[in-house]
């Protein structure tokens, strides 16, 4: 299920379906397959707020659609 569809709660990242640029950018922020993240805010429009390794991140919707979670 894409991250953009999750309302709240903890999920595990399965796959990131993006170019190298996007993957390389997310990696050092702790967003990579196998990591657990928490969805703090999802208004189903505009960016999301997620919690990764204890810090809050804003994630654009386009990006969230390309992150597969379970």
């Amino acid at each position: 299920m894409p991250l953009s569809m999750v309302a709240k709660g903890r999920v595990r990242i399965l796959r990131i379906d993006g170019g190298f640029g996007m993957i390389d950018r997310l990696k050092p922020m702790g967003i990579l397959p196998g990591e657990n993240i928490e969805i703090v805010r999802n208004d189903y429009t505009g960016p999301l707020i997620i919690s990764v390794k204890g810090s809050r991140m804003i994630l654009g919707r386009g990006m969230a659609q390309k992150i597969d979670v379970s």
Partner: protein, 714 residues
């Protein structure tokens, strides 16, 4: 004094790196740019126990992968300048993510000291660190610091000195164990590197080089020219890809995090999980889906009101100061004498530079407010709120702030685009910023609107002009994103730091840094342009026979039998005609005359033409230049006589056309210079200049001609 050591500070954005830099160096710092890029380079000095240190604040980075310009700059610095000590500054209340960069620094082979910054916050959140264990796991001394309270600075300096003095011996054990499969490929690549090393060897630690190549780092790949290594690397990547089912770079990153979380599990105890709870509560309100936007708009309104209200008195002082100096300098020459030097000093330099310096209080106050919003953490929320809207025009949330600052002045606005990592986003934002009607254009509107429009129409007119700018910016941005700046818009990902009370010192320092940059850039360019414009309106002077004719007229008036008052009036009017003739005769007047056929379709005559040329230096010059060509002496936007002259000579439609043209056309010279510098190429500045002027011409001609045909505002 003995030796001098080079110390680099590295860390994530928001790790408090700059605060520590300021603590260590005090005011003894120097801000410049890295060659070729617009990343700020901050350097300072510090002496500790007789050892002189040169301290460089590297740009904030999340990794050494050279994904962004900042990261590339940080990495190149480490490669080329080989600092004696690298201080890895870590937000210890956010340990795991911050340690990622630290691990990369260790792998790179940098002589490391770790500063666990914000340790008070970490403690408040219930974290307890076993520093000895962590230090062992990461092969580096750890010092706890609290940057904004200046705690731990001496201990940090001690650690830096001891690492600098320690003999550097190659690390015997790898920092990260990447597991059998990857390790095998690493040693294969290292072997290949050894056998095909260039003369003098590689400037990198070979293991680091091998790992980075397996991560498919584009920059480092370019440095490998030998086919043996290239083949080895691509074979390795292919094999690992098959084994893991995904690119090895992801697995490599996972292993780094594995090491970090392993160490943290052993050495960090968390008693309570309280982080963010307060921040989250505030966020529920401030970033609320419905309330977020109105709150943001109110906030921005307050910022602008503050900027202009509080800026008013100091602006008055600056104005009187310049008027006073002009008077004093003028008094150095005997009354009535015409000296070129005097005219240069007063009309050229004092008026030109004064016109820019006068905006300084506004600029500084605007920067102060922005620094406060940034340091408090609200700016990241603003990006969150605006992202939804900005996305629709092909930009993202972070573009909004620079555009907003553009209503104050384009120069700081263009400098503020530095926060956009993606070059396409940044250039698009930069290109459209001049369409945000800046503060210097306000005097033009305040002169023209009351002249041509009835009271009830005045406020809507002003609103209309601003709106036209915004709408054009949106359209232009969209077009740029679809044509020359095409490409996937880089999605937004940014940290949402917890809310913090900004410290007085850091806010002031932020303000000063940016304000000084503005002053330096604007100051030098404007000074040059002012002198040029002055020369263009003063030379060549009227020929002798013309001068004599005006002199004769004056003499005739003096001889006439009328009251002194009438005489003065007549003489003043002759003076005016002479000044007007002089302008028409000067280079500027000739240019104005020359371009008149071009201006005609917009309804402009040569007088407006020269005013618009003056506007290239700074937009507000349009007003004073109109004053000069209409020879009404000192003109300002309140000037009644200038308004009367305008009403007599032009129609409301032309008045509107003037406003439209000054809104859209060629940004001022200082903006041109800043765009040139910030985009790294004169081509962008020329495109902005030419494109906007062409757009302005097109729109103004269409509006004027349509208006004329329909008989509106004649």
């Amino acid at each position: 004094m003995g030796k001098k050591i080079l110390v680099a500070l590295a860390g994530n954005p928001n790790s408090g790196k700059t605060t520590i830099f300021n603590n260590l160096t005090g005011m003894k710092q120097h801000v410049g740019n890295y060659p070729g890029v617009t990343v700020e380079r901050k350097e300072g000095y510090c002496i500790h126990k007789g050892i002189e240190m040169r301290i460089v604040d590297l740009p904030g980075a999340y990794s050494l992968s050279a994904y962004s310009v900042e990261e590339a700059v940080a990495r190149n610095f480490l490669v080329n300048e080989k600092p004696d000590v690298v201080v890895s500054i870590i937000d210890s209340s956010n340990l795991e993510r911050n340690l990622y960069l630290a691990v990369q620094l260790m792998e790179f082979g940098a002589p490391l000291v770790m500063a666990f910054n914000m340790s008070d916050e970490a403690k408040a959140r219930g974290y307890q660190f076993d520093l000895e264990k962590l230090s062992g796991a990461f092969f580096a001394p750890i010092v706890e610091t609290v940057g904004h309270k200046q705690q731990g600075m001496d201990a940090l300096l001690d650690a830096i000195v001891s690492v600098a003095e320690k003999e550097r011996n190659p690390r015997t054990r790898a920092v990260v164990n990447y597991g059998r499969e990857i390790e095998e490929e690493i040693s294969n690549v290292v072997e290949a590197l050894k056998s095909e090393a260039p003369p003098g060897g590689y400037p990198y630690d070979l293991r680091w080089l091998a790992v980075t190549l397996l991560e498919q780092d584009k920059e480092i790949e370019k440095e490998i020219t030998t086919s043996g290594v290239k083949d080895r690397v691509s074979q390795g990547i292919a094999r690992l890809q098959k084994f893991f089912g995904e690119s090895p770079s992801t697995e490599i990153a996972s292993r780094r995090y594995g090491l970090i979380s392993g160490a943290c599990q052993e050495a960090v105890r968390s008693t309570v999980e309280r982080r963010h709870t307060t921040s989250d509560k505030i966020d529920n309100f401030l970033t609320n889906r419905i309330l977020g936007l109105p709150i943001f708009l109110v906030m921005m309104y307050l910022v602008f009101m503050l900027t202009f209200r509080l800026g008013e008195p100091p602006m008055g002082w600056i104005e009187s100061f310049f008027a006073f100096s002009a008077e004093k300098i003028s008094a150095l020459w005997p009354a009535g004498s015409e000296s070129a030097v005097k005219s240069l000093l007063i009309d050229g330099i004092i008026n030109g530079v004064g016109g820019v310096i006068v905006f300084l209080p506004n600029i500084f106050l605007l920067f102060l407010a922005i620094a406060f919003l940034e340091d408090s953490g609200y700016m990241a929320r603003a990006a969150f709120i605006m992202d939804r809207i900005m996305h629709k025009i092909g930009l993202h949330g972070k573009s909004f702030m620079p555009m907003l600052i553009g209503f104050g002045c384009s120069i700081p606005a263009i400098m503020a685009t530095r926060s956009l990592e993606n070059r396409r986003d940044r250039l698009t934002t930069m290109m459209v910023i001049p369409l945000m009607s800046c503060g210097a254009r306000l005097p033009i509107y305040s002169l023209i609107i009351p002249a041509f429009f009835p009271q009830a129409w005045q406020a809507p007119m002003l609103w209309l002009i601003y709106s036209i700018g915004i709408i054009l910016a949106v359209i232009t941005a969209k077009i740029l994103r679809m044509t020359i700046l095409k490409g996937e818009s880089v999605p937004l990902v940014m940290e949402l730091p917890p809310y913090r009370m900004p410290t007085f010192k850091s806010v002031l320092l932020h303000m000063w840094e940016r304000g000084w940059l503005y002053l330096r850039k604007a100051g030098t360019v404007i000074l040059g342009i002012s002198i040029l414009l002055w020369a263009m309106t003063s030379y060549p002077g009227l020929p002798e026979d013309h001068l004599q004719r005006f002199e004769q007229q004056r003499n005739a008036v003096t001889a006439e039998n009328i009251t002194q008052e009438q005489k003065n009036e007549r003489i003043a009017s002759i003076d005016n005609s002479q000044a007007e003739a002089a302008i028409e005769y000067s280079i500027m007047g000739r240019i104005g005359r020359g371009i008149e056929p071009l201006l005609k379709p917009m309804g402009f005559d040569w007088r407006i033409g020269t005013a618009l040329i003056g506007g290239l230096a700074a937009k507000e010059v349009v007003v004073s230049q109109l004053g000069i060509v209409y020879s009404v002496g000192e003109a300002d936007e309140e000037s009644e006589s200038l308004r009367n002259k305008l009403i007599r000579n032009y129609s409301p439609l032309i008045g509107f056309a003037i406003m439209l043209f000054t809104l859209i056309s060629a940004p001022c010279m200082a903006t041109f210079a800043v765009t040139w510098k910030e985009s790294g190429s004169i081509r962008w500045a020329l495109l902005q200049f030419g494109g906007l002027t062409a757009l302005a011409y097109l729109i103004t001609v269409v509006v004027f001609q349509t208006g004329r045909l329909m008989g509106v505002g004649l």
